[in-house]
């Protein structure tokens, strides 16, 4: 099955769970503010744990940064979800901080065990 490994993740232009530009990210935020975003009403209690941060490229203006994450979600009375994966970010130096130019998120799941992805990675 070694040759199926390159099928683990789809490629740009193919299907992803989330495939957003800035406009769509803004729509997701606006959705949460409507007071009718039921999947997040009441809001989930989430925590992002970020580890293994590595700067893999730096051209002065922009950096390539890889990290691992554990996104934990507790919801309603007794529901739990966990997503673990890696993030490959392109960051731009802006003043004393960074802006995210691009983010690819790679989840370890193939079949998601959660009933939705109503949160941000």
């Amino acid at each position: 099955m070694a040759k199926e490994r390159d099928l683990e993740f789809t490629k740009p232009g193919e299907m992803a769970f989330i495939d957003d530009q800035k406009m769509m990210l803004a729509a997701r935020v606006a959705r949460l503010r409507t007071g009718r975003a039921w999947a997040e009403d009441p809001p989930s209690r989430t925590r992002h744990l970020i580890t293994n941060i590595r700067v893999t490229g730096d051209d002065g203006d922009e950096l390539d940064v890889e990290s691992n994450f554990h996104l934990y979600r507790a919801r309603l009375k007794s529901e739990e979800d966990s997503w673990i994966g890696s993030r490959c970010d392109r960051l731009r130096r802006v003043g004393e901080s960074f802006h995210i130019v691009k983010r690819n998120v790679y989840l370890e799941h193939t079949v998601l065990l959660s009933r939705n992805l109503s949160n941000f990675f």
Binding site: M1, K3, E4, L7, T10, K11, G13, E14, M15, A16, F17, I18, D19, D20, Q21, M23, M24, A26, A27, R28, V29, A30, R31, L32, R33, T34, G35, R36, A37, W38, A39, T110, V111, L112, L113, S114, R115, N116, L117, S118
Partner: protein
Amino acid sequence: MTKETNSLTGERIDGFVSLETGEIDRSIFFDSAVFEHEMETIFGRAWLFLCHATQIPERGDFFESVMGRDNVLVVRQKDGSIKALLNTCAHRGNAVCRAEEGNARSFLCSYHGWSYGIDGRLKGVPGHKNFYKGDLDKSKHGLREVAQVADYKGFIFATHDPTAPSLDDFLGATGRLSLDLLAMKGDMEIVPGIQKFTIDCNWKIAVDNLFDWYHPQVTHASAFAPSVLGSMLGGGGQNGAEEIDMTDLQMQDGADLDIPLGLISGTNFEQSVVLGEYGHAIGGPTATSSGNADMISGPWRDTPEAKEALGPAGAGVAGHPNLFPTLWVVQEMSQLSLRIPRTPDSTEIWWFTFADRNLDPGMRQFSVNLVSHIFGPAGLLEQDDGENWSQATHQSCGFASRNIPHLLNMGLGHGEIIDEGGLKRIEGFTSEHAQLYTYHAWAQWMKDLDWDELKEATTPGDTI
């Protein structure tokens, strides 16, 4: 002519669904005996969708699909035909393939090394000569083939029942129209990446929702808010959270909620419900009320090929079809949503996305983006469905709560069924006819009738 299995007598099954009152017994959503019985009488007999031909174009290409609790390898053969093989070694049951899709020259069992050709033939058995003394007849121990496999315009289906009628007969006019609403939009091919996720609900709750044009205005209120849909489609209004203060629209003292959010989320538009044999159904807007076109494919219904395939009656249908039991044809987004029952309260959702090969690259990219923004686990619409379905499943289990019927009586008694060219349809506004009829058909399947009786029992009458 009913069999008794798991103490589910025909009489008890008839009591689950009432066409007279529109009431459904909630126990069908959590009773494990019901689930076991479904696995036999429905998922053991019905034609079930496996995958699309464009997912496995080359020799040895395979896709692992699910029929009930059987994992099935759908494999393209040397001669171009397709076989559906149970993914279980003929020796001691181990899976012979652990990839969800790919290309294989053979399937090797990792337990004792039995190997099979892509046609399922047993080729290699370690120790055949020394341990088996040559006594093992390899011709008798290939991978088991599923009883029947067939395709309709590239959509591949299979059934475990060798006595099942042909796929064409099973689909009938309603099933063929359902698939034509996707197939005739162009030269359709799969977009790689089948989205798979799990909702902790009973599969029937997920299925009955697809006909439900009553819920979008409330369930999906956040997605239809101008600031959200507007910015999603590139229309600006990104900071518009304040614009859509909906507090005034909240139900107060039980007053009706009437959110003027336009066509898709409203209920006050012309609808057409189609009911078919074996439990296939379509519910939703007419082509006219939905604008006779869609955002991606344009006015595809006007081509001569589409006109011929849909027929005059089908041309007016633009709602959501369900091919019984579990395939939702999301024709407006060129997607299929397959609901796979895992346990009474766990259902996998698989989204298959299609695109017209002739779409220009920019439009194709737009369509791939759009569908991920609407449906799937992160889709702005579908995000909010799962919790409703989960809660509906779990709240129904309570000792006292289970005695309250699952209610599908909207429009009951007002559905006049018109038969036109073999398509049986009801015209009107939002109703629960399609859901109710699906449960009625479900009960007929559960009675394990023979195929002729089943077809008759699931043929719609004059009214509902």
